[in-house]
Each structure stands twice: as C-alpha cells, then as structure tokens.
Symmetry: C2
C-alpha cells in the first residue's frame, strides 16, 4: 500500500526558504503573493490492511517524518 | 489563486535522503518497502484567470521550482 505524505510548517512558523523563493519569483516578474515550502514523501508499506496501514502511517509521521511542534502533516493512502 | 506543487526526483535518480529515512523506519521496526522524498510548495498567485495562472505556474516550475533534468513536477490550481 502506498502513502503520499505532505508535511508543512504550521501557519505561525516563519518559512525563510519560502520567503527566498517568493522574493526570487517577484524579482523575475511573476505575479506571486506568497510561497510556503514543505516536504512531500511517498512511502510504500508492506501492509495490505487499510486501517492498520493508516495507524502505522500516523505513527511514522508523528515519530519520524514530521516534527509535530512546528509542522502539520497530512497523508493519503492508495492502492 | 493558489497552486499546490509537488516536485519529485525522477524514478531513475537515486534518492539518498529517502533511502536514509527508509533504513531508519526499518530499524524502528515499521513494515516499509521504500521511501522517496520530494518537495511540496504552496504558491499564491495574484492572477484570477485560471488558464493564465496555469501558464505562469508551468513556467515558474520549469524555471525555478524544479530542475527538469532530474525532477518531475505536478501542480494543481484551486480557488
């Protein structure tokens, strides 16, 4: 079973990487208001049961993929 | 208009960051087969026309957000 995970900084946390890209795009003349940068992860699990896979993914996200203090995570299972 | 962009390494490109996470998860005892890591970006455009916004985003992805030689990108417009 495959999981697509998106980890983003919480709204209240400054995102210097995003600000840098935003400035670059504005300098290049693009009509950009804001840019926020996060991480995308594709995890293939050796677990066919969807409910169990969801449980495992939630634990993986909390323990390793995201830092719950400053980041939000979201995942979607497929296949 | 908001765009959600996902940039991933092409299938044929090695992903050492993903391999490291994969090894960690296996060591921690999780049933993981593989992990690939990419980037997620949320871009707010000052452009209300959807067709025009799509054109701008495609250009932004090609020129700044992704390296088309080693990366694939995918984006979705909303709002």
């Amino acid at each position: 079973m495959k999981a697509k995970v998106i980890v983003t900084l919480k709204k209240s946390i400054l995102d210097p990487q995003g600000s840098a890209v935003e400035r670059s795009l504005k300098t290049m003349g693009y009509p950009v208001d804001s840019v926020r940068i996060g991480k995308f992860m594709e995890v293939t699990l050796a677990e066919a049961n969807k409910a169990k896979a969801e449980e495992v993914m939630d634990e993986i996200c909390r323990k390793l993929l995201a830092n719950p203090v400053i980041e939000d995570y979201f995942f979607e299972l497929e296949g």
